[in-house]
Amino acid sequence: MTDALLEVNGLRTVFDTRAGTVCAVDGVDATVRRGECLGVVGESGSGKSVTFASVMGLVRPPGRIEAGRILFEGRDLRALSPRQMRAIRGRDIAMTMQDALTALNPALTVGEQMAEMMEAHDESLPASRGARRRAIAERSAEMLGLVGIPSAGERLRQYPHEFSGGMRQRIMIAIALASRPKLLIADEPTTALDVTIQAQVLELITDIRAELGMSVVLITHDLGVVAEHCDRVMVMYAGQVVETGPTADVIGAPRHPYTKGLLASIPRLALRGQRIRPIEGQVPELIDLPPQCRFYSRCPERGPECLRPVEMHDAGEGREARCVRVVPEMVS
C-alpha cells in the first residue's frame, strides 16, 4: 500500500504487573492513509490508548513493546534512536492526551507550552531572537484564536488552572497542531466538551486536515463522531482489532458480533452524541487469556468452533473481522 502514512503490524504491548503479564495490545494491525481519518472505538480498557502510545514510543515501564513493526512513511519507528524519534514526535506525529486536565504543565504558562513546541520543530522561524519571539507570540495567538479562545494574546500569559476544562482541551489541540503535523493522534478529544464546542473542535480538526492534508487518528467512544468525521473505523476489543472497514459500511452493516452489539445498543437516529454502552458481560482479564475468541463469553453467536484462536477474516470491500462466521460477502 503506497499511500499508507502509518502502518502497524503485529503490535504487541505488555505490562509486567504483580498479577502477571497484562497483554494490553495483542497483535494489532492498523493502517492510516495520507489525508484520511481513522476512527478507533472500543470499550474502556480495549487498548486504544496503549496502541497509539506505542506508535509514539511513549510506553513507560512497567509497559514495553514486545513485538511488531511500526512504519511511518516507510521508516521503522522502533529502530530509530531516541533523538531521531524526538524529531518525529511533535513535528510529524502529534498527539493529544485523553485527559486534558492533567496534560498541561501547571507550573508553566500556556504561552510557554505553546512556544516550546514551535521552538523545537519550526525551522521557518526567524533567526534573530526578538523577531523569533514576536513570530512565536503571533503564531501562538493565532493558534489559540483558531481553537476559539478569545483575547488569545493576553491568555498566553496565564497558567492552565486559569482556564476551564474545555478550554484546556482546546489549548492542548492547538499545541498539537502548532507544528502542522502529518499525523494527529487525538485521544478522546471531545470528552470534556459540551456539544457545541465538541462540534467546533471536530470542525477545526477536519478543516486543518483538509488544508494540510493531515491524517487523523480519532480515538473516541462516540460512534456519532466516527460516523460524521472518519473515513474508516477500527473496532478494538480486549487488546485486539476485531473489525475494520470504511465507516459507512461498518456502521451500516456490522459483521463482527461485538460491533453489532455496540450498534444495537444505540438508537439509529440518535447516533450523534451517543456514547458506547457496554454490552452485557465483562471484558476478559488480559492476563493468561485462553486460546479462543476473546469475545466468546459474551457472544450470542458463539459455537464450539470459536474455542480456538481466531484470525482476521476477509469480509470483502476492504473490510475485515475477527470472527469465524465472517466470509467475504458475495458482491454482484
Binding site: 524529531a87 518525529i88 485527559d99 501547571p106
Partner: protein, 335 residues
C-alpha cells in the same frame, strides 16, 4: 497572598509564641539546681549576701510574677541581664548570633547543592547502583547522631589526616576586624584570601555535620517528588511534543518537583537550629548554640529563656516563610 491573609497568619503566631514562652519559663524554673548556688560555687558568703544576690536577680519573687516581668520586658526587647556575664542578655546573644547564622547558612547551602542533584539523579536512574547508594546514604544521614558523625569527621580529617582544624572559627594568627561579622565575608572584604581559606577550613566540617540530616531528607524529598512528577500526564505530553530531554527534565519536571523540596528546606532550616547546639559544642564553634548549652549548665535563666524564645520565633517564622514560598512557587495555590 492577600495582605489580610498575611496579617492573619502573623497574628496566629502570637499564641504560639506565648505558649512557647510559658513552657520555657516553667521548664527552666523546674529544672533542679539553683543559679545563686552555682554562682557562689566554693566561695564563702554570708546569708545576707546570698539574699542580696537573690534580690538583685529578682529570684526572691514568686514564679508567676517573675514570668510576667520576663514577658513584659521581652516584648520591649529587654531580656534582662545575663547572670553569668553581667551584661544584657540581648548583647551577649547578638555577639554570638552571626557565627551561628553563618554556620547554618553554609550548612544549608551544602545541603541544597548536594541534595537536589543527587535526588534528581536518583530519580532519573531509578533502581540503579547510584540510586541504591543514595538511598542507603540518606537513611544513614537521618539516623546517625550528629555528635557521633561530627567526632568521626574530626577523627578522620583533623586527627588522622591532619587536613582540617579541630575547632574554632578561624586560626588565632588571623586578626580580622569585623564588618558584617560573617567570617567568610569579612576576610574577603578585608582582602585576606589566606584568612578566608582558613575560615573555610574551619567551617567545613561543622557545616557538613550540621547539614547532613537536612541533606538526607531533602534528597529523599527531591527523589520522591521527581519520581511522582515524571509519572504525570504533562510529562508524557511534553515528550509527545518531541521536546529535548533536558527541557523535559528541568523545565517541566524539576520546576514542579522542587516545590515540595523548597518548602521542606525552609522547614528543615528550623531543625538546623536544634542541631546547632550539638555541632557547636562538638566543634567548639563560638555561636549561640554553644552559649545556650553552657548557660543551661550554669542555670543562666534569662539567657536560656531569651535564646529559646529566639529559636521559637525563628522556627515559627521559617514555617510561615515556607508557606509563602509554596504559594509563590505554585501558581495553582491562590491564597
Amino acid at each position: 497572598m492577600s495582605l489580610a491573609r498575611l496579617v492573619e497568619r502573623l497574628l496566629q503566631l502570637i499564641p504560639v509564641l506565648l505558649g512557647v514562652s510559658v513552657i520555657v519559663f516553667v521548664m527552666i524554673t523546674l529544672t533542679p539546681g539553683d543559679p545563686v548556688d552555682i554562682m557562689i560555687g566554693d566561695e564563702i558568703v554570708t546569708e545576707e549576701q546570698e539574699e542580696a544576690m537573690r534580690r538583685d536577680l529578682g529570684l526572691d519573687r514568686p514564679v508567676h510574677e517573675r514570668f510576667l516581668v520576663f514577658l513584659g520586658n521581652a516584648v520591649q526587647g529587654d531580656f534582662g541581664e545575663s547572670f553569668y556575664h553581667g551584661r544584657p542578655v540581648a548583647d551577649v546573644i547578638a555577639e554570638r548570633l552571626p557565627a551561628t547564622i553563618e554556620l547554618t547558612l553554609v550548612a544549608m547551602i551544602i545541603a541544597l547543592v548536594t541534595a537536589i542533584p543527587l535526588g534528581v539523579l536518583a530519580a532519573i536512574k531509578r533502581n540503579s547502583i547510584l540510586d541504591r547508594i543514595a538511598t542507603v546514604g540518606s537513611l544513614l544521614g537521618v539516623s546517625l547522631p550528629g555528635f557521633w558523625f561530627g567526632i568521626l569527621l574530626i577523627m578522620l580529617f583533623a586527627v588522622q589526616l591532619d587536613l582540617l582544624p579541630v575547632s574554632g572559627r578561624i586560626g588565632y594568627a588571623f586578626e580580622i576586624e569585623p564588618i558584617t561579622h560573617f567570617m567568610l565575608i569579612d576576610t574577603l572584604l578585608r582582602g585576606r584570601p589566606d584568612a578566608f581559606l582558613d575560615a573555610l577550613s574551619h567551617i567545613i566540617l561543622p557545616a557538613i555535620t550540621l547539614g547532613l540530616p537536612m541533606t538526607a531528607i531533602l534528597m529523599r524529598v527531591t527523589r520522591a517528588s521527581m519520581l511522582e512528577v515524571l509519572r504525570q500526564d504533562y510529562v508524557t505530553f511534553a515528550e509527545a511534543k518531541g521536546l529535548a530531554r533536558h527541557r523535559i527534565l528541568f523545565r517541566h519536571a524539576l520546576k514542579n518537583a522542587l516545590i515540595p523540596t523548597v518548602s521542606v528546606a525552609a522547614i528543615e532550616t528550623g531543625s538546623l537550629l536544634g542541631g546547632n547546639m550539638i555541632v557547636e559544642t562538638v566543634f567548639g564553634w563560638p555561636g549561640l548554640g554553644r552559649l545556650v548549652v553552657e548557660s543551661i549548665f550554669v542555670r543562666n535563666y534569662p539567657l536560656v529563656q531569651a535564646a529559646v524564645l529566639l529559636y521559637a520565633v525563628t522556627y515559627v517564622m521559617l514555617n510561615f516563610f515556607a508557606d509563602i514560598l509554596y504559594t509563590v512557587l505554585n501558581p495553582r495555590v491562590k491564597l
